[in-house]
Each structure stands twice: as structure tokens, then as C-alpha cells.
Amino acid sequence: MALAAARARNDVPTLQAVASVAAASDLISARGVSVTMGSGRHRQVILDNIDLSVPEGSFVSLIGPSGCGKSTLLKVLAGLVEPSTGRVSVAGHAPADAARRRMIGLVFQDANLLPWKNAVDNASMLLSIADPTLSKAALRERGQAMLDLVGLGDAAHKMPNELSGGMRQRVSIARSLALDPAVLLMDEPFGALDAITRDTMGQSLLEIWERTGKTIVLVTHSIDEAVHLSKQVHVLGIKPGRIIETLDVPLPYPREVSIVEHPDFIRLHNGLRALLRDSHRPGQPS
């Protein structure tokens, strides 16, 4: 659905060569993606031969120890890092093109709001750059609608220093959603929040996902978060960064916070924990 809408939005023909790489239902596909940095003795393989498919409308988590390159992988998908080898397509476009077509919404660990703008103006800030033709009123309206969506409708006129960490992160999610992207790429968005706020934010994210049908790729180091939220979890290992296992989470939606007591949750949680222990063992670069 989002794919069709994205194609309808622009009349430029899609690059067939790139589009054909992706299976029909995959919004994001990465094939043989490697990222190396430095050269000679300092050459370092950050990501090694990554194959990744994210079906449209799915919720996928990338989990792994520090230094496994999960954030780098997300940046590759966002078009912020160019892979050394391999192909990536997002809705049939190269990632940087997809970003320019407003198909990619980014959320980082730091909300990075502009402290001199209120919540609603922060929420429409990226949209105002992406679409300079929009009037101030239209931007406000869109910003307000997105704040309503993330549950911050009443706080539109608050300044960032009047908002809590969780609320700031909600504004940052609203800011990305304002672009109406096909996919939300989130890099440890709740990593700086306390445990209780984290749970509420995860729950809200699920609601937003169910309501908007966006495809979500979430980088996290929290096993709970990965199992609680996603349909599929990719476990990454270090040295070099690679996908060592892909797990489906067959728990039904809507999921409540109480899902952590479900036997299947516990089984998956334990399985992931064992995998993460393995993930610290360096592998042989292929």
C-alpha cells in the first residue's frame, strides 16, 4: 500500500534493476551488503555480507552487542552510509533517493529537538524543509495531527525544556511521521529513557504502528523490547558485524506490557539471550 502510494507520488520511473532485487512484498531489501572502513592495516570490516529483507508493514528489530554494526546497518538503509559492496533498495529506490522522496523517517536515541521551537513547530520542522511549498498553517496543522497521533496533542505549545525525555522522543517520532514516510528507521529510540517510560513508549509505538501501518526497523540492545514489539528479530554478531540468526516472534498482536509473562515470550527471550551470548564470539569473515 505504502509502496504504491510512494510510486504514485512521483512520476519518475523506478529503477528496474534495483527494484527487481526486492521480492514483491519486501519494502526493504539488502543483498550482500558490506561496509569496510579504513585501508591497509587499519582496514576494518564493520558489516560483512548482510542479507536482509523487511516485508512491507512489518516490524523488525536488529539486536546485537555493541560494535556489531547494527547502527551502521540502519544508516546504510537510511542512505547515510554508502555500503562498500552490495545493493540496498528501499521501496525500489536507492536509500538516498528514497530519503529524498520522503520515504524514510529517522528517529535517533537523542530526540534532537530545536530548543527554540515549540513542540508543534518541531514536529513540522523536517516537513518544512522537505516541502517548501507548504504554508505555515498547513505545517502547523500537520504538526498538530502528528502530535495527536503520538499522544501529545495537548503539549503543542510547550517548549522542549518543558517536556520530559519520553515526551521529547514522542515529538521526534511525530517529526518523522509528518513526512508520511514508508518506513521508520529507529536507532535505540528509547535507550536513554527509564524502564517504565520505556515500556509505555514501546506500547505507544505499537499503537502508532497498528494505526499507520508503517514499516518499522528498530535497532535496540534490549531483548525485552525486541520480543515485545517486533514480528521478526535479526541477531547480529561482532567481528565482523553479520546476521547470525533471524527469529520470528509468533506472538499475536495487539500485545500488552503483560506479554512478558507469556510462556512463549519467556521461551523467545531465553533463546535470544543464548544467541546474544554467542554473538560476542568473533566469526570468520566470509
Partner: protein
């Protein structure tokens, strides 16, 4: 003041408590110091030529009030003009350095090199080039005060979070857009801090400029009074220089409150 500020804000306590807590201690200390100073000078019969008593300074101030007021206006004008010129030049330089990489690479080391030239030593040269009027003072203030403005604004513009820049890049923002919509407003709190330093340096610049060669102003009054061995008058003029310095500093601070009310503040202890 930020709502998250942990210190007790004036609004939350009665007015008399604010006066007793904030103003009374420095006032009491000043009165004690002045009384002790007066007493020491009288008891040990110290010559007013070496250290004048506060009462003698007050007398000198009253006796020369018209001249000193006139001199203060001249000096204030130099400070204000010099300060404005320094800020405009400092901001322009910072913007050029950030906007054009090659220009930044060319200029920055030269600016740092120039910063190491003792500016005070340049005063006689400026007098030689530009005469005894307003111009050499303005130029001296400029070379002394532009640097903290440029440096603080650069620091502010370059401390923008990388992921925010990534976010802007991802929607195709141009370099100028990132500069104008993110970097410049982000740098305003730093710029304001730099301007407060520049305000203080402008006072020094004006006085040094007048020392090097002038026919009016408080610096000139100080020099004239010391050649006449009129130490109480020197102190009276110094008092007025300090008053000017305080006025300009707080004017810069007021400007800060107006321009960046959203910036985190140090509590006014």
C-alpha cells in the same frame, strides 16, 4: 528562567527575602570595606597621594562632576560603537568561516595568529595612522573584542549534533538551510556569552586607546590626573570606568535574556 531550574527563583519567595538574600550580603561587605579603608587611611595618616580615603575620592568626584560626566559620555560612546563594530565583524567572520570551507581553512590560522599579537602594543600605531579622534579607539576595540565573538559563535555552530545534521540531510536540506535554520540559532547562547566577554574587553580597549593618545574621555582624565599627582581624581575616574563596565555587561546580559529565553542559564548566584 527555565522551569527546570533547581535554584529557588525570585518569583517563589517574598520580595523582602529576595532583597535580604541577594542584595544585603554584598552591600554589607562593601560598607564594611569602605569604612575599614577610611579608618586605616585616617589612623595611619596615609597621604592621599598614595591611597586616598573613600571620602577624598567622593570629594574629587563631586568637585569634578561636570568634567567627569562629559568624559564618561565620550568613553561610553567609544565603547558602544566599538562593541557594535566588534560584534558585527565577529559574527560575519564566523559565518564566512563556517559557510565556506576553503575560506575557513585560509582564515582560521591567521585569526589565531593575530590573536597572539599583543593588541595593547598596537594602540600607538593606530594613533599614528588614524589620529587622536574616535577612529583609532574603535579599531583598537575591534581588534581586541572581535575574537571571543567569532570563537564562541563558531563553537556554537559546530556543536550541532551530527544526527540532527543527518536528519536535515536526509530530507535534502542545503548547506545554507542547515546553517540558517539550525547552526545559527543553535549558536546564539554561545554568541551571547561571547558578547558578554566582548563588552568587558570593549571597556579595556577604550581606556587603552585613550591612554595611547586622546584629548578627552575617562582614560585621558586618569592620565591627566596622575600627571598632576591628583590620586583622588584618578580613583574617581576609575570608579566611573567600573560603572560603565558594569552597565555594559548587564546590558549584554539583558540582551541575552531577550534573545535566547530558551537557553539553559546559570543560576544568578
Amino acid at each position: 528562567m527555565s522551569v527546570q531550574s533547581s535554584s529557588v527563583t525570585p518569583r517563589e519567595m517574598p520580595a523582602w527575602r529576595f532583597v535580604t538574600d541577594r542584595w544585603l550580603p554584598p552591600v554589607i561587605l562593601s560598607v564594611i570595606t569602605l569604612l575599614a579603608w577610611e579608618a586605616v587611611v585616617r589612623i595611619f595618616a596615609i597621604s592621599p597621594f598614595i591611597v586616598p580615603a573613600p571620602s577624598a575620592v567622593a570629594e574629587a568626584l563631586a568637585a569634578n562632576w561636570g568634567t567627569l560626566l562629559q568624559a564618561s559620555i565620550v568613553t561610553a560612546e567609544e565603547i558602544l560603537l566599538g562593541f557594535v563594530v566588534s560584534v558585527v565583524a565577529g559574527v560575519a567572520l564566523a559565518l564566512l568561516i563556517v559557510r565556506f570551507d576553503w575560506l575557513g581553512r585560509a582564515l582560521y590560522p591567521l585569526v589565531v595568529l593575530f590573536q597572539n599579537v599583543p593588541k595593547v602594543a598596537l594602540a600607538p600605531i593606530f594613533i599614528l595612522w588614524f589620529g587622536y579622534g574616535l577612529a583609532p579607539k574603535i579599531i583598537l576595540i575591534l581588534v581586541i573584542a572581535f575574537f571571543p565573538v567569532t570563537l564562541s559563535m563558531l563553537a556554537g555552530m559546530e556543536s550541532v549534533d551530527r544526527s540532527l545534521v543527518s536528519l536535515m540531510n536526509s530530507v535534502g536540506a542545503s548547506r545554507s538551510q542547515i546553517l540558517l535554520r539550525i547552526r545559527v540559532p543553535h549558536s546564539l547562547p554561545n554568541l551571547m556569552a561571547g558578547m558578554k566577554i566582548a563588552a568587558t574587553l570593549s571597556v579595556i580597549g577604550a581606556i587603552v586607546g585613550e591612554f595611547a593618545g586622546a584629548s578627552d574621555g575617562l582614560g585621558y582624565a586618569i592620565q591627566f590626573a596622575s600627571t598632576q599627582l591628583d590620586t583622588p581624581l584618578v580613583f574617581a575616574a576609575l570608579l566611573l570606568v567600573s560603572v560603565l563596565g558594569i552597565v555594559f555587561y548587564y546590558a549584554a546580559e539583558l540582551l541575552e535574556r531577550l534573545v535566547v529565553p530558551w537557553a539553559p542559564k546559570f543560576s544568578g548566584r
